[in-house]
Amino acid sequence: MKSEPKEKLGRRDFLRALGAGAGVAVASAAPLAAPAAADTENNDEKRKARYKADSASVQTYYRVNRFPS
């Protein structure tokens, strides 16, 4: 009886090799261009008032909305 030829890379070994290869590829990849930064403003800065009541745009808006209906 003729036996199946022995494969060079077994089914389970194939996946193992694939995983190892991917790990090497990730490790050797160039580092990210810049570290990810989240919420660059601190607690006080992000809560500060930004509304400018005296700006020309805001005053014009209030003025035209007061036109008689």
């Binding site: 403003e41 809560r47 008032a49 745009s57 805001v58």
Partner: protein
């Protein structure tokens, strides 16, 4: 300290959707997300009313109350904002909000949600004012530029009011005292006959 508020004068809204378009254009809001929309009741019938709706920037915001990662905060101008870096897209705020303001981009299969997106009162978010990061995540920061939300500034009939709550309440009060309201408004009987009252 001024408290930022929206107020829609329903007697003036003509459902043109310019506010919706202006908002989407100003902030480059992606497909499927509407930070603002116009709701019409009794559409096509006498007494039809349209109201422009978005985040109402509640004083005691229910979205903030239910958020499991506490990503919401209220600014000194009483604008309710959130951090997209903290948001996990759980959707609790959507269920809590009585106005349906929180929106989610459809980023993947199996109903997965992306980061929540909502009206910012054109006040950006927790990134440096006017920065590229702020614009990409939250849209334009018009408040820091000395402007008011574009939806209100674009409103052709001056129906949508935005700004300091005390000031816009005064403007609305003056309008109502001058013209009346609903069936008592000037020209109402001519337009809708005497039999229709709201």
């Amino acid at each position: 300290m001024a408290r930022m508020k929206f107020l829609c004068d329903a007697d003036r809204c003509i459902e043109c959707n310019a506010c919706v378009t202006a908002c989407k254009n100003e902030h480059e809001v992606p497909w499927g997300i509407n930070r603002r929309r116009v709701v019409t009741i009794n559409d096509g019938k006498p007494g039809e009313r349209s109201v422009s709706m978005a985040c109402m920037h509640c004083t005691d915001a229910p979205c903030a109350a239910v958020c499991p990662v506490d990503c919401f905060y209220t600014t000194a101008d009483a604008v309710v904002l959130h951090s997209k870096d903290l948001c996990i897209g759980c959707g609790y705020c959507f269920y809590a909000c009585p106005f349906g303001a929180p929106q989610y981009p459809k980023v993947g299969n199996f109903g997965s949600r992306g980061k929540m997106d909502k009206c910012t009162f054109c006040a950006g978010g927790p990134e440096a004012d006017g920065s590229k990061e702020e614009y990409e995540k939250y849209g334009a920061n018009r408040l820091a530029e000395g402007k008011l939300p574009l939806c209100a500034e674009m409103c052709s009939t001056k129906s949508l009011l935005a700004g300091d709550g005390d000031v816009i309440a005064q403007i609305y009060k003056e309008r109502v005292s001058r013209r009346g309201y609903g069936s008592g408004a000037w020209g109402w009987q001519t337009a809708y006959r005497e039999t229709i009252a709201t």
